[in-house]
């Protein structure tokens, strides 16, 4: 059935697969980073093109519209400055009280705003690539947020890029707490429904559930990966599973993983 060239081709591909599958994890990660670096010029080109397009669109906006936006931004800036002053005072008070109680002081997180370069091309992984890496101080496990709330964590880090695993991917499990009831659970995978990609499952909830739809979910800080208090989403519905032995809920994320342009990495 097979002629010699077909055997050679089959053997070459099978051998390549076997060799690649049996590479040590670190070497495989390095090969991936090296191969992924081949796409950096194109990602840079797309970034520049988007920047130019944004500049061009700004050039055709009427002056009156720009002045209106400027005024709105000035007002927002004033409001935010006031809030920042209040938050600073509250933070200092918090640190002072922690010292009085001999608690470990919670260090302030530094932020790094990053642009999204690409998404994982396979449909069954929820991940993105961002334009900052080890040279910018990123390392695996750092939390990634957007203004609406938590979005994921840094997974694989290259010198100038990093892969962020998004909420809903099985590799990104988050310990969370329902603010209104104080019940803790683990945010696991994307909900199996066909519709909203923002729906994720909240598991490991207690049997006698007090959680109601509409309640808010925050990170609990358990596990030490994510700082406590980051907003995650709201409870959509609850259900009893395992013949009533425990409960699960569906949570609608505040942040939309399908519409990410910029993300913020929290650096300790």
């Amino acid at each position: 059935m097979f002629k010699r060239p077909q055997w050679v081709a089959f053997s070459a591909v099978t051998l390549a697969v076997l060799v690649l599958w049996n590479l040590p994890d670190r070497l495989a990660a390095r090969v991936k980073i090296a191969l992924g670096a081949l796409f950096l010029p194109l990602f840079g080109l797309v970034g520049s093109a988007q920047h130019l397009a944004a500049e061009a669109s700004r050039a055709v906006v009427p002056r009156a519209e720009l002045e209106r936006q400027l005024e709105a931004l000035r007002r927002e800036n004033l409001r935010l400055q006031l809030e920042l002053t209040r938050a600073g005072a509250a933070f200092e008070e918090n640190q002072r009280l922690r010292q009085l109680l001999a608690w470990r002081p919670a260090g302030p997180w530094q932020t790094r705003i990053c642009s999204v370069l690409a998404r994982d091309p396979e449909a069954w992984w929820q991940a993105i690539h961002i334009d900052a890496g080890a040279r910018a101080g990123l390392r695996p496990g750092l939390p990634v947020v957007v203004p609406e709330g938590l979005i994921g964590r840094v997974d694989r880090v290259a010198p100038t890029t990093a892969e962020v695993v998004l909420l809903g991917d099985p590799r990104c499990r988050v310990a969370v707490v329902v603010r209104e009831t104080g019940e803790t659970g683990v945010l696991t995978t994307r909900s199996s429904g066909m519709g909203d990609p923002r729906l994720v499952d909240l598991t490991h909830l207690p049997r006698h559930l007090a959680v109601q739809p509409g309640q808010t979910v925050f990170t609990s800080g358990l596990g030490g990966v994510f700082p406590p208090g980051l907003p995650v989403g709201t409870v959509v519905d609850t259900r009893s599973v395992g013949y009533g032995l425990y409960s699960e809920a569906r949570v609608r994320l505040y942040a939309d993983p399908s519409r990410l342009r910029e993300v913020i990495v929290l650096l300790p």
């Binding site: 060799v19 191969l35 992984w125 909900s191």
Partner: protein
């Protein structure tokens, strides 16, 4: 093997992987991604040789795995099997017809992700699966089917632009020339 054809094919594969990763509008509009590598593999298998199919599977698969969370090397075998299957029976296929290209593109676009998923699961990875995966497969299949005839035409046009036609040896032989003149 024509090197220019192979280079053209690899450039298209590189761009196909890049577009799949960099542009998320199919995901937002259709609810699932569109992969151009299986349609490209069908085009390569119908128009070119086994060497090109093998090189495309190796390079395309590696590039795709580099940008995805798949274990490195997972996409190689499904791509190669799809290409080899089409290449093996291409003489029996009506490859110039759009309909045939459409069907082959659909089959390859369905088979490649399903086989890749099987390999990913067999490696012990935990991908995000559910009813949405079924919809993703539908989008991949239909998208791949529509893209195959378009890629076929694009490849033909690019070959006309960049690849020199092979020189066909004429039937003229100087040693058989009848020389006329005075004896």
């Amino acid at each position: 093997m024509n090197r220019a054809r192979l280079i053209l094919l690899l450039v298209l594969a590189y761009l196909a992987v890049f577009f799949q990763a960099a542009f998320d509008w199919p995901q937002r509009w259709l609810g699932g991604p569109i992969s151009l590598l299986p349609p490209l593999m069908v085009c390569a298998a119908l128009r070119l040789g086994l060497t090109e199919v093998t090189v495309l599977a190796l390079c395309g698969g590696l590039w795709l795995d580099a940008l995805s969370a798949n274990p490195l090397g997972t996409s190689l075998l499904p791509l190669f099997l799809a290409g080899w299957g089409v290449w093996r029976w291409r003489e029996a296929l009506l490859r110039e017809l759009d309909y045939a290209q459409l069907i082959l593109g659909a089959c390859a676009s369905l088979a490649v992700p399903v086989l890749t998923l099987v390999l990913v699961l067999s490696k012990g990875a935990e991908p995000s699966l559910g009813w949405h995966t079924a919809w993703h497969l539908v989008v991949l299949t239909v998208g791949g089917a529509v893209c195959t005839p378009l890629l076929f035409r694009l490849l033909e046009r690019l070959e006309r632009l960049f690849v020199h036609p092979e020189i066909v040896a004429g039937s003229f032989r100087p040693d058989r020339e009848i020389k006329r003149g005075r004896y």
